[in-house]
Symmetry: C2
Subunit: 347 residues, 2 copies
DNA sequence: CTGAAAGCGCTTACAG
DNA sequence: CTGAAAGCGCTTACAG
């Protein structure tokens, strides 16, 4: 029976070895580009391998080597904004490292989350990237108890957390956004926050408050509204602002999705941006530069954060030490065309 | 040395067995809920397992069983529209089946694609879902040559293709969209197609043509523009339409991202939707109902497609036969508020 | 330069 | 009900 006749099964290294007339040791060396094989032998083996489309068995290889070649990314929900930027960064470095990326969305369901946890513990991963709000990050402990390398992305944790984190200067971003509007002459600035049980939302709000206080602008609670970081709440809260006796002249939208919602509400009411209303976003998601008008926003280095997180994880996996353990990348203001001086101030 | 002292390493089944004083056979039976273990023994083993947070070694288990527990999803580019709907569907069924989802984006780079192919062949997957345009689907053959189950999503292939496909009635969707605009009284209807080297783009265009022909409306080549399915081209081509001596009164945007672009261009020019211009999209991506005005579009059952694809793949993996091999789900018109009769027609 | 052999951590007939 | 043993397909000291 020739090899061709067994096409219904994947070949094993032993079969290749037999076909060539060498040992599996030698075949293995060729496969792994190890020295210690004669040029002729190597060539012959290589030829047979290609002829038969032989590929190694991953499970066996990794049983021996004790790694899976897999990195898990856990995320709340795939949305196509913030998350996508991070994922692109991660994919980028994993492409080189040879790891494959397993993606799992918890959908904010704790049962699903526990299910995943069991599966990962039991199916083994080389390491995991946690793209979860600080509040859900307890699973990091479960992971660490099993000695699985883990890195959290997004939230700044207390310096005492045992696992490394990647975050960006959210508070400063909130401050800068608000400060920018103030510098344009706005005094009534609305903010649509994210869910206030998230520290990242509260950080933005705190930055907003600080900027107003420094400018000695009194804080008006009616100008502070909570959103869910989705487009729909951007629309809704903007309508609410417009219904106020004295509406704001500018809105800090909390994130870009909510800014997009604000755009749509204003469009519906025929209120021009930035002439009649200034809008500033947060995140600097891919499409912001293509909005019309292009959105002024706070840039979070999402791709960089993804890359850095992946690189740190890889280092952890390789058994190298990490320092510093908590990295915070900087946010920055990207001025485009959605903010201007308030109308009353214009000459 | 107690088990606790070895915390730096993951426990093996043998260690558990020794601790309890039974054989690994018995431990394995307990772990896999197999019969043939006394209630007391079972309880004792269970207890020790939990006490030590023991988890099985995935690689070893799957080396024995010959499966990886992994499903690969290959995609051109993570964008957050079409792709996300499919992924949600896939995730949904994999959650139950116990498989994990590996995501890989080729980024339209053939080198990257080949790299992935090598990696998958060599790292083994239980099956792969191809979310690629028909043109790139050649890798399905490479996969099948290695007896890896594969399902293609999106494009309808020739009935002769050896691998199963899931698609939706694109042509009909294009026809329906155009027909809807015609029925509202439009005669100058612009279309922004996707890249015309993709069969799915051409199918929409063909549907568009057919609808016009049936209505005996001459086809004006200046009203047919090629886009790249991204927001930016929606903006650009809409501007081009507006620059025409006789602009269209309605635009079939090819997909929802391009429709969003059209919205933005029209906003910039202060042209109201649907009063001064009707827009119809394609896909019915999550956010379309929240656009303002809510977008009339052609619904593709993305989540369903993802679910069905995953289910078919699972059946293939289980060695069951599949019939029919080519499934085509239906698209449908979702009327919202972005289309109206053309102005000149209004009373 | 080459190979025999042990072993990674499981599962599964098979025997008792 | 319980266990000894073979074997999944690799890699890696070690010996020749």
């Amino acid at each position: 029976m020739t090899l061709e006749q067994r096409q219904n099964k994947r070949l094993t290294m032993a079969q290749i070895a037999q076909e060539v007339g060498v040992s599996t040791t030698t075949v293995s060396k060729v496969l792994n580009q190890l020295p210690g094989v004669g040029a002729q032998t190597r060539a012959r083996i290589q030829q047979i391998i290609e002829q038969n489309d032989y590929v190694q068995n991953h499970a066996a290889r990794h049983l021996r080597k004790g790694q899976s070649g897999l990195i898990d990314l856990v995320i709340m929900r795939l949305e196509g904004g913030y998350d996508l930027g991070i994922m692109h960064g991660v994919q980028d470095v994993l492409e080189d490292s040879g790891h494959r990326l397993v993606v799992f969305a918890t959908n904010e369901d704790e049962t699903t989350e526990r299910l995943w946890l069991r599966r990962v513990l039991d199916q083994s991963t080389d390491g995991v990237l946690l793209l979860l709000p600080y509040e859900r990050i307890g699973i990091a402990n479960a992971l660490m108890a099993q000695h699985i390398p883990v890195i959290a992305i997004g939230d700044r944790n207390e310096p005492t957390t045992a696992f490394p984190t990647i975050s960006s200067t959210i508070w400063l971003g909130g401050y800068t956004a608000t400060e920018h509007l103030i510098s344009l002459g706005h005094r009534r600035i609305g903010i649509i926050t994210g869910p206030l049980h998230l520290t990242t939302s509260r950080a933005r709000l705190a930055g907003y408050r600080e900027a107003l206080e420094r400018a000695e602008i009194p804080i008006d609670p009616t100008l502070i509204r909570e959103g869910n970081y989705l487009l729909g709440d951007g629309i809704k809260q903007t309508y609410d602002f417009l219904g106020l006796p004295e509406p704001p002249t500018a809105i800090f939208a909390g994130n870009d999705a909510q800014a997009t919602g604000a755009y749509q509400a204003l469009y519906q009411r025929n209120i021009r941006i930035p002439d009649a209303m200034s809008i500033i976003g947060f995140d600097d998601v891919v499409y912001t530069s293509q909005m019309s008008p292009p959105l002024t926003t706070i840039h979070q280095p999402l791709v960089e954060m993804g890359k850095m997180a992946a690189n740190m994880l890889l280092r952890l996996i390789a058994g190298q030490s990490l320092e510093p353990n908590h990295v915070e990348l900087s946010t920055s203001l990207v001025v485009r065309q959605s903010c201007a001086a308030p109308r009353s101030r214009k000459l």
